[in-house]
């Protein structure tokens, strides 16, 4: 009995020390790949081909009102009013100038009243300090060594805590599997040297992906030398999707 207690105390101590000192993390600190995304909101034309490609590539039911990625439209009038919409996550693009205000209401803003208007594609930021990973009670969602946050569909119990925890609202319930779902930078594609479906589909070149740890990577170079920003830095999650031309109106 005493030896069992001693043994279990030793195991508990070892686990605790491993949790504090994290020798594996030292190995991770020298990881060669860390995926980062670059979104250029000047270039985005609001065609929505990225959303269509994402849904088809990642088998999200097309007519379901959820998507791993979407595009938001912002129209700022000269009076300072901001109108924003993302009709059906922009999977059909923006084919009308009328802004969808929700609940069946629309607003047509005449051209001469528009101060600035732009499109903002959004996707999972694959944060360096992901709050969604921290709250998972079972360890179904996690961050891989290369920075991508993934969800283990067979392990997820569908509690939705991670969906609540994401401050950017990137997560949702998969309508078919009823587990948590989110963008994973097309993990199956980037590990084969291909680009994510949304990056491939974008005709305007508004979406780009690269390895921020590689100093010769073109995306890393843009992040280092041009004026980029992250969305909502006050959340403190260290997102790795960088935006060019992000404006304070963006929610």
């Amino acid at each position: 009995m005493k030896s069992i207690l001693k043994g279990s105390a030793a195991v508990a101590l070892a686990n605790g020390l491993n949790g504090i000192f994290r020798p594996l993390a030292l190995q991770a600190a020298t990881r060669p790949v860390r995926w980062a995304f670059l979104v250029d909101t000047y270039k985005c034309i609001g065609c929505g081909y990225c959303v269509k490609a994402c849904k088809l590539e990642n088998e999200i039911p097309f007519e379901a009102d959820v998507s791993r990625t979407w595009v938001e439209r912002y129209v700022v009038t000269k009076e300072g009013e901001v109108f924003a919409d993302a009709p059906k996550e922009a999977r059909y693009g923006f084919i009308t100038s009328r802004v969808d205000l929700g609940m069946g209401k629309f607003k047509d803003i005449p051209k001469d009243r528009i101060d600035k208007a732009f499109f903002v594609p959004k996707l999972c930021n694959q944060c360096d300090k992901p709050p969604c990973v921290q709250v998972c009670p079972v360890g179904a969602t996690y961050q891989a060594a290369d920075g991508v946050v993934l969800v283990d569909r067979t392990w997820c119990i569908g509690c939705g805590y991670c969906i609540m925890a994401c401050p950017y609202g990137m997560r949702f319930f998969h309508p078919q599997f009823h587990v948590a779902e989110k963008c994973n930078f097309c993990y199956h594609r980037i590990n084969k040297g291909m680009r994510p479906a949304c990056v491939l589909a974008c005709p305007a070149g508004a979406r780009r992906i690269g390895n921020i740890k590689d100093p010769d990577d073109p995306v890393a170079k843009v992040i280092m030398t041009q004026r980029v920003t992250i969305h909502k830095p006050e959340y403190g999650t260290n997102p790795q999707v960088y935006y060019i031309g992000l404006s304070e109106e963006v929610r």
Partner: protein, 152 residues
């Protein structure tokens, strides 16, 4: 001391659970590279995600057989559009699916060609129409060739 019996019962249940988890929890479940806070997971899942089938193949996949269309598109302003944007993912074409979709609907073209006067976006630089004014309801391909992006 019979008053300790509930304690023994609780300890027995705890021991049973700790023994059961040795069999139920997979061997690769544990703390991985990102540490206790972000890297506590079943390692095999990474490979499961990597094994997902690729559906979108990209332009390079199409051009060997469809060289003529590729040449037409490349000499038009539509060269920036991926073939699969309009025709759907290639998957394993031509074995599966044998034919890709030909979406001739108006809404496909209106994604870019509904003129939106947005001064701070490249959208305003795309030649566009007012869908309510310009042949409403008609298919765009009736007059325009999308591979040549031509006027009728």
């Amino acid at each position: 001391m019979h008053v300790l019996r509930p304690l023994f019962a609780v300890l027995a249940v705890a021991a049973l659970i700790l023994i059961a988890r040795v069999f139920v929890v997979p061997d690769d479940f544990g703390i991985h590279e990102r540490g206790y806070m972000f890297g506590w997971y079943r390692k095999a899942n990474e490979e499961e995600w990597k094994a997902l089938k690729v559906k979108y193949q990209g332009k390079e996949y199409c051009k060997d057989c469809h060289a003529e269309q590729e040449k037409q598109v490349l000499s038009s302003p539509h060269k920036i559009i991926e073939c699969e944007n309009c025709h759907g993912p290639a998957r394993e074409h031509p074995s599966e699916p044998p034919k890709l979709t030909l979406d001739r609907s108006r809404d496909l073209c209106l994604r870019c060609h509904t003129y939106l006067p947005y001064p701070t976006s490249k959208r305003a630089e795309i030649k566009g129409i007012d869908p309510g004014q310009h042949n409403p309801g008609a298919e765009c391909t009736g007059c325009h060739d999308p591979h040549r992006a031509s006027k009728p």
